[in-house]
Symmetry: C2
Subunit: 166 residues, 2 copies
DNA sequence: GCTGAAATCGCCTAACG
DNA sequence: CGTTAGGCGATTTCAGC
């Protein structure tokens, strides 16, 4: 996938599908100002080239019974590449861990976790995360309330940069 | 939205649409084991009741030119409700800030930010975030590399709990 | 090369049992 | 919840720029 350069229509398609991933192709074509067949071809190309990684329904965790969200800062004993990879692999296997990012600075990883209740999370924390190989320290912060949770990227920033470079 | 209790089929629908939000209704119906019309009725109900908040294409930030991801820990001077709300409102207006969560513990908020490059982020950090009203301290951590970034909720955890309570 | 138009096929989505 | 059925969208084919 050679990551072809995108034109204005491609970017518009990405922005529209980020905002509504279930939009019909006909509606999408109308919004970006071309007819349906080339629009569908562009979408397929964007998918194949990795610009679009997938489509997901955005489900409210609270409504489904996931009352607890926690950020966990993890420090490891060894930062050798093999040990970092091993920890990342463990995170991928833990379904309570939704995100795992390696950071610079004092802490090695930040994890975003979700759980049905505090006791489920505490069990995971003590029996799995803190107990895992190579984990030196774990600091957790409960999410009191969510103020913003936008998936995806800010297309307005991209546009601002493009006009500046034009 | 009365938040009706969900049955197995509803949960299966949510899990399938979380995994592939662009699946056709016919395919979805086939997977959950009912015919298409009742399946569509269930999806509409799940949308109306707030279980499904929307559908989004998952776009690769890197491919689009967003090279920088940063977590920012923000401490405020005043934690009065009006001041908390004011800060949350500001975060919602900043498009570089994709997530803003209020936390317990030493830090008041965690922000997940995305930017095209470091200088764009630094400008935001110094001119906007640090300079904002009521902001006392900001600590930032750059994401060196992402190890896991799963949207949504872990349905396997939900199922494990349901069988235990059955 | 791309786009757009036409045509086919399959899906969406009522109405009814 | 299922079946039927009519209309619309998706997707291929082909012609034109």
């Amino acid at each position: 996938m050679p990551a072809t350069r995108l034109d204005d229509i491609d970017r518009k398609i990405l922005a529209e599908l980020q905002a509504d991933g279930r939009m019909t192709n006909v509606e999408l074509a109308r919004r970006v100002g071309i007819s349906a067949p080339p629009c569908l071809r562009r979408v397929r190309t964007l998918e194949e080239q990795g610009y679009i990684r997938g489509y997901h329904a955005d489900i409210d965790p609270r409504e489904l019974g996931f009352e607890v969200q926690v950020f966990a800062m993890v420090g490891l004993q060894s930062q050798a590449e093999a040990d970092l990879s091993a920890f990342e692999a463990r995170c991928r296997a833990w379904s309570l861990v939704r995100e795992c990012h390696m950071l610079n600075g004092e802490v090695d990883f930040i994890l975003k976790c979700v759980a049905p209740d505090l006791s489920t999370f505490q069990r995971f924390l003590t029996e799995e995360l803190t107990a895992a190989d190579n984990v030196a320290s774990v600091k957790t912060s409960l999410v009191i309330r969510g103020a913003k949770d936008e998936p995806g990227v800010p297309f307005d920033v991209l546009e601002a940069r493009l006009v500046r470079s034009a």
